[in-house]
């Protein structure tokens, strides 16, 4: 297999109204086994995927938001959320799920996976990726 590539999963759609968010997450989980350099981007309505307090009981759908919390265990810990997208939706970091990972090189210290970045920084991350999965 060739050297490690920078994989970027771009999430721009809200959950439940369409299946893209759930099936994108399934790709990320499978992809984690391939030991590539993985980053996730949440922008536009994609930021709604990782908001707290989702409860799908009354719509009869599967609430897959807890699965995002497992990403850290799969070594998926570069999760970029766009500030402008949060602002446009009246959201702050406090509205998002606390996504963390344990750093084995730092005595398993618990660290935040989410980095809130500007649109300009997001643009750079997109451009520096080797493979972009668009959802």
């Amino acid at each position: 297999m060739p050297e490690t590539k920078k994989f970027l999963y771009v999430n721009r759609k809200a959950p439940y109204g369409t299946i893209y968010a759930l099936e994108a997450l399934e790709v990320v989980l499978i992809g984690a086994a391939f030991e590539q350099d993985v980053s996730l981007a949440f922008l536009d309505d994609g930021v709604y995927q990782i908001t707290k307090g989702q409860d799908t009981k009354d719509v009869g759908m599967k609430n897959f938001s807890p699965t995002y919390k497992a990403l850290g265990d799969y070594d998926v810990n570069k999760i970029y959320v766009e500030q402008e997208s949060l602002d446009a939706r009246g959201l702050t970091l406090d509205d998002l799920l606390p996504l963390t990972w344990e750093d084995e090189d730092d005595d398993w210290a618990k660290k935040d996976s989410i980095k809130v970045i500007s649109a300009a920084e997001m643009a750079k991350i997109m451009e520096q990726s080797d493979v972009v999965f668009s959802f």
Binding site: D44, M126, E127, S134
Partner: protein
């Protein structure tokens, strides 16, 4: 690294074109396909956004999609280049990555 952005939504219905323009860095290319080709037209409420971005981004539009929608080439914003499917392939090949703004 250079990136090609494809947009397949009318800018009057969704924000895909606007978001793509916001996230394209200087030297990137943007190709409008399918319903995205409406973004290439002069005289819409979104035309100025495209014209202003043209100093940093190279814009392209799919000719077959224009024709299918009855959009005459004379109504396209000046500076947007019209390509066919082979031209689309060439754009993908010329850029390191392609991001689809779905």
């Amino acid at each position: 690294m250079s990136q090609l952005h494809t947009v397949n939504k009318s800018p009057l219905e969704r924000n895909a074109l606007e978001s793509a323009i916001t996230h394209a860095v200087k030297g990137n290319a943007l190709l409008m396909i399918e319903d995205g080709v409406y973004g290439a037209m002069q005289g819409t409420h979104k035309s100025a956004m495209v014209s202003e971005a043209m100093s940093d981004i190279s814009f392209y539009v799919m000719g077959p999609d224009l024709k299918a929608r009855g959009i005459d080439e004379t109504r396209i914003i000046e500076g947007i280049k019209i390509v066919d499917y082979s031209g689309f392939v060439a754009l993908v090949a010329e850029h390191d990555t392609t991001q689809s703004w779905l």
